[in-house]
Symmetry: C2
């Protein structure tokens, strides 16, 4: 035969392997590999990518010998399958698929059922005893072939199909019967004839040749070329053509189809898991018309097949060293594996499988660590909604997934009511947006829902800090706080009504949906231990209270990267002194009020320092503008004016004078410390007195005083001098030395640009990426929700920059800050304490630019640890 | 004599020249120069800087021969002056001054009256016939000598002086008589004796030697060393010592003293100008006890001296080629010039002198251009307060000099009243802060005064645009708009009261102060013509109306760099349509309202384009957030709800929904165009229809469409596509082609960082440095006044970054933007249109980084042109 003399252009599945991707394409190589390791894959052959290139080189002609090789391989295929291509009694049907070395959506994909014609259909009907299915398969072949191979307008077929349904008065394709479909086959043939003046080819060999032509032709269609241009894929790698036998699970009672996982994808249990249907096609399993059987049933029904499947399961796990998801079909008592791929799994399963597979010596711990995606841990650490129950629930709307977890409760609209009602039942706090005044209400609520604000809005940040479920910025909600209800898409939810939040997806449901508690077991601890072996940067937590600090420690935090001191002032006894301080009007008045706050703050620090013994605690000095501590409502002003003994008008005037047009860019952070040095003095005194006293008690305290909102070196210089003076004074007073550091937040673009100057003063930098993102983009986190969703939908931005660091913009500034800072001070300690510190992609970025640590909400510490490990492992490559 | 053999260490004044600065120090070289050109400078000699170095090299000893040289020169000095050092009848007194090659405030400065002692004072009293003066001179000598030379605590003398005054029950030194001072001399001597166990030296030679020692010693005192370290001055250049004869104008009726200018420093007239007092010392002229005579009087009184002065005047101008300011003393009929320096002058004088001196061939035009400081032109172009009247007026407070000029008028507190009252009398609009709703009121007011807001606040920007006087951010003012008065430092100013503003200094006065109108004459035009010969970058104007455009053209603008379209919407007929558009809620509703605005906007553009025929006009698309167009007060909302036929609650809800926490970082600029593309479409259509129609009429229109607030390349990409589509459509509709450009504002830090990407779309960049400054610093221009003044006072910042570009921070981003932008698009046209475009230092920066043009308020165009010329000339060096 001629083929003997020509080059090998066609490979039977058993002649290839996964290493031959370039020659056989990705799909072909995989099919070959499955065949090679002994899986009963429906046989077939691959026409190599070389042929594709030759086809074009020869001016859309095939190299000599190809035809013969195809014929040879087709013979082999018929023999393997025990069926004959084009045979009227025992027809072999084949599929033709394109498949380059890289996945390419621009090309033709698949044509099924090749080999069907007016005659072979008779044999297929007899074998499947399912006339409707056979005619449906035939009409699909003609439609696909007409469209993809012969170039008939897709619409033509659809219009005819629709006409048919209209005539019969039905809505769905499935409502057409065998007779209808048979008629459609005739109609379709006419469409082709009319459009192309050619008949749909009845000769199966012609069908096959034309389909192969179409695959090679599709390599250079417009979509494929522009896809390659866009993705930088060379134009000369070519595509292969896969010709594979079709198998049918609906050929009678000894046929069937199913899907299975080599382990339980929900729990990770090491058990064979799946379901199947006898005398059915894959679609039937998916369609849900008949209820599939659990895979264990197959053991009784077809013990041999079941045994074979168990064998395959073992083989697959040994080969792929991961949990596999397989599709199988039984055709007339013979098992075929149609597909195997890495199985999707829940977080719990991912963790268990990773840990078990290390025990079973399938994988090493490095692989185990890589197998769990960082964001998956969120599922593990928070309550989750019962997935099944969720499907049936009434979805009210979708907001931003601001803080993961699930929560249900009765709706309340203000903090005070929340505190009251929470004594009786679970509550969800619903507000247009939250402010620091709502903290107490947030603390007692199961979850928080806001109509405004983004991923770093007050509600989102505080909720994440509390490890509490939050859906933020649900813009379709209108909250009528005074009238005690909210409206969403025409529905009204009253105070006391039950709702359920999914903070991981942003969904808001009416009523109660069962919630599944997180389980953190031994596997988790073991796994996190492995994680830390690979991680090279530190992970700290943002924690403002001793309780936060304890949670953080439990989750493996190596210190506190951000202790916000302003939250400490919102409790009842403190806010009063704080307000007195603000409205005092004179330095003396302020100092008097501050002297009331000093012992309280000191106690806070003592408690936090004790929890964090031996670990660094970065304390940020007062950050928000002072007016945040004052009330806005007339009623509250009245109350406070009486409380403080200040005239209502005077107090109101003071509040008005403190009002700012753009508080985010206003009188805040170190600017307050510079204009009111006594505020800083009090805070620093509280920190250092606490440090001194605990040092005397034998604790090892590592305070790091952090100056917020620095943009000019002189700000840092002046304030550092004050801080150092207070420290010296207290060391003298207490007669003891203690170590401490003074550093700055880097959250103002100018701080990044002039980092070389600022590092002359700062002993550490902590990037405040929330503010840095706001100012770099000019996006207010509170207002951006008016346009940011549109930006994300239209691809103006790929990701929400408040959730993941914008590498091209904000990232450039961070890089600049790191480089310039270290130029001045080589050993400058650098971290991040913005909300991005818990986002896996952002953690990787922080690792890459050489930060020493990331700091995030306590509940995100494990996520950050894992992300940091992944970053280190990715770098290894 | 020994001196013959040693090196020359001492130079008599007539042996040096201004070229010998290094050897003689700056002061010495100048004295020598004045002597050299024949000015009758009191004689003296200089001990060289070399001696200083030798002094230290030899371990605080003098080189051999120095003593002899000093004695020789002293002899020469006695001879020249006809007086003898230490002589009881005819005593020569001398001063000793330090003087290095560079000015060094860290060193000892001056000791006067050396040579006075208990005996020589008798001769001096006889000669001056002024006992009190002589004793005062003596006690000053002892005090200065005791302090500076002998190192007695300065305080000791002060305490004794104070005790003396207390005892006498007087407040001022001048109230002590000759006897008191004589007693003080004795007291002072005792102080020295007690502190140093040494007497105040009576020997004049000892006094001189010790003073010389002190000068050389002061070279290495702590202050001087740290000053040199700070300013990078080498430590080995040394100081010289100047010994000069003292002359006295109070030695009788043929003595006197005066100051004079070689030209009139107020008008620049080429006339000898000055004043003098007979039988007086310099202090008497300054003290204002006796009224000096105009210099012309001297012609009668001492015609010879006057002739000599005229001669000197001519000599000085020929020598220095600039107007000089001289101090002279006549001692017993002999004229001495004590000092000559470049004279300070008003803007008008500077201009006239520069132009005249070119005519007189004293200087070339390049020098003339350099002689006028850019900011001086502000004085020329705006009304000024009468300086004399101002001194007597009641200063209420000082705010920011937000827009130069002067204005007086009756106080009004809202725009409507302003419009009403302005029909009757001049008004000043006083508000806590202004908003776009105040535009009409600002337009009719003489000036604007606000209590809040910085150099780029709304009031400041709009006022500068109008060329109108404005004092902004006068924080000590409390405005009670509803009660129609304002309070300042306890004073109350009611509606209708007269106040006067000085926008060039920020001063606010009670009552009316006469105002001087600006005079722009031929000299100005000639001068600006020279300016443009040296300037290399373009100057455009920010102009929003045809009138602005005309003013700008008159001032020499070469196009419009910023035409803000939003101001166009605030007029009565327009704001209504605008509001309808905003509250419409549907695209259709918006389009309907916009269709009413289209013809109005088109008309605006037609008029502006006509004025700017042949010149580029950069039009910025809608920039502010939409809520700026909606009312805030309940009352206004009610009115508008009726006007628009929308329910009050609904309208209020819409306004609330549009409310933003940080509008500066909110839904504005291109973000509005992206969410409401129909707004952009209308504006662009108005621009291009205007362009098309005028092109048909034969005009040459150069529209440049500018997209504001871009931070992401995709924003520019999407909007540019829309703009181009509209242009194509209109060209097709009108059947004509017209040129246009599409570019972006660069005002978001991220735009600078990703300028390379954005330049793929933008054909030009215009830096919006107001916003860029806000975001780079995180300073809201409206709120920064709460801390910015403190920052400037304490030197945290050297300059207000809203007035002058912050080169280290914002400037770095600008540089980055320019470099990255041009990397992508080599011929990218780059300008600036922030308020900095009219600030001389900022213009120089723009020149330096390679911008193509600056754009500023029309009234600042001449300033910018001159600054640009200076920048180019500085570069030449």
């Amino acid at each position: 035969m001629a083929s003997k003399n020509s080059k090998k252009y066609v490979y039977f599945f058993d002649e290839g392997s996964k290493e031959m991707k370039e020659l056989l394409g990705s799909k072909g190589a995989n099919l070959a590999e499955m065949t090679r390791i002994g899986l009963p894959v429906p046989s077939g052959f691959i026409i190599t990518t070389e042929v594709c290139n030759l086809y074009y080189k020869l001016g859309r002609k095939y190299p000599e010998g190809l035809d013969e090789q195809i014929e040879e391989n087709l013979k082999k295929l018929e023999k393997k399958m025990g069926m004959i291509f084009g045979d009227e009694q025992n027809p072999l049907l084949v599929s033709v698929r394109s498949g380059a070395a890289v996945s390419m959506p621009g090309m033709m994909d698949t044509i099924l059922n090749l080999g069907l014609n007016d005659k072979t259909i008779v044999g297929l009907i007899r074998k499947t005893n399912n006339e409707r299915f056979c005619w449906d398969s035939y009409r699909r072949l003609i439609q696909m072939f007409g469209d993809v191979v012969m170039g008939v307008e897709h619409d033509e077929f659809e219009k005819t199909l629709q006409a048919k349904k209209d005539k019969k008065g039905v809505k769905f394709d499935t409502e057409l019967d065998a007779q209808d479909l048979k008629e459609l086959v005739e109609d379709y043939k006419k469409i082709i004839k009319k459009a192309k003046r050619k008949d749909f080819p009845q000769d199966p060999m012609v069908q096959l040749r034309m389909a192969i032509d179409a695959v090679f032709g599709s390599w250079n269609n417009k979509r494929a070329i522009s896809y390659r241009n866009l993705h930088g894929i060379p134009h000369d790698i070519g595509t292969a053509v896969n010709v594979q036998a079709m198998v049918f699970g609906n050929m009678g009672e000894n046929s069937g189809t199913g899907v299975a996982f080599t382990r339980n994808p929900a729990t990770g249990e090491d058990e064979f898991y799946g379901e199947y249907l006898m005398n059915a096609q894959g679609e039937d399993v998916v369609a849900g018309i008949r209820t599939p059987q659990p895979i264990s049933k197959l053991k009784e029904e077809m013990p041999e097949i079941y045994k074979q499947l168990l064998d395959i399961r073992r083989k697959l796990e040994e080969h792929y060293r991961d949990m596999q998801d397989i599709e199988f079909t039984i055709q007339e008592g013979k098992l075929y594996i149609l597909q195997t791929r890495t199985g999707k799994r829940t977080a719990a399963a991912a963790l268990k499988i990773a840990v078990d597979m290390v025990k079973q010596k399938y994988i090493d711990i490095k692989t185990a660590v890589k197998r769990v995606e960082p964001q998956m841990l969120d599922q593990l650490l928070h309550k989750q909604l019962d997935e099944k129950a969720k499907e049936k629930a009434e979805l009210l709307t979708k907001g931003l997934p601001a803080s993961p977890g699930a929560a249900l409760g009765r709706v309340v609209f203000d903090a005070d009511t929340a505190v009251e009602e929470a004594k009786k039942d679970k509550v969800i706090l619903v507000r247009t947006e939250t402010s620091p005044e709502d903290i107490q209400g947030m603390a007692v609520a199961q979850g928080i829902l806001t109509a405004r604000g983004g991923m770093t809005s007050h509600a989102a940040v505080v909720a994440r800090g509390m490890g509490k479920c939050c859906v933020a910025g649900a813009e379709s909600i209108k909250v009528y706080e005074s009238k005690q209800y909210f409206e969403v898409n025409g529905k009204r939810i009253n105070k006391g009504d039950w709702i359920t939040l999914d903070g991981s997806t942003g969904e808001v449901f009416r009523g109660k949906i069962p919630v599944v508690d997180p389980v953190i077991g031994e596997d988790f601890k073991k796994f996190m231990g492995w994680v830390d072996k690979f991680r090279t940067i530190g992970v700290r937590a943002n924690a403002d209270t001793p309780n936060d600090a304890k949670v953080a420690l439990n989750f493996g935090a190596e210190g506190i990267g951000l202790c916000r001191t302003e939250h400490m002032f919102f409790e009842a006894d403190r806010i009063k002194a704080m307000r007195k301080m603000i409205v005092a009007g004179t330095r003396e008045g302020r100092e008097k009020a501050l002297s009331q706050l000093l012992p309280i703050q000191k106690k806070d620090f003592i408690e936090i320092f004790k929890v964090m013994n031996n670990l660094p605690v970065t304390i940020r000095l007062l950050d928000p503008p002072l007016h945040e501590f004052l009330p806005n409502e007339e009623e509250d002003i009245k109350e406070i004016s009486e409380e403080l003994g200040i005239g209502f008008d005077e107090l109101k005037a003071t509040i008005n004078a403190l009002h700012e047009m753009n508080p985010m860019l206003g009188h805040r952070g170190c600017r307050v410390s510079i204009t009111y040095p006594e505020v800083l003095e009090m805070q620093v005194r509280a920190i250092f007195e606490a440090a001194a006293e605990l040092t005397l008690e034998g604790y090892k305290i590592k305070p790091e005083v952090m100056i917020p909102v620095v943009g000019i070196v002189n700000e840092a210089k002046i304030l550092k001098e004050q801080i150092v003076n207070v420290a010296r004074k207290i060391m003298k007073e207490k007669g003891i030395k203690f170590g401490y550091k003074v550093g700055t937040m880097v959250e103002i673009p100018r701080a990044c640009i002039t980092a070389d100057e600022i590092a002359q003063e700062a002993e550490f930098f902590s990037f405040g990426t929330n503010d840095l993102t706001q100012m770099t983009f000019g996006f207010s986190r509170d207002d951006a929700n008016k346009f940011l969703p549109v930006y994300l939908e239209n691809g103006i931005l790929e990701k929400d920059p408040f959730a993941t660091i914008d590498i091209d913009g904000v990232g450039e500034l961070i890089k600049m800050g790191v480089e310039r800072g270290r130029k001045t001070r080589q050993n400058l300690k650098i971290g991040i304490c913005g909300e991005h510190g818990g986002d896996p992609d952002s953690v990787k970025f922080c690792h890459k630019v050489g930060m020493d640590y990331v700091s995030c909400s306590p509940y995100r510490v494990p996520v950050a640890r894992l992300a940091a490990a992944h970053a280190a492992l990715e770098e290894e490559k």
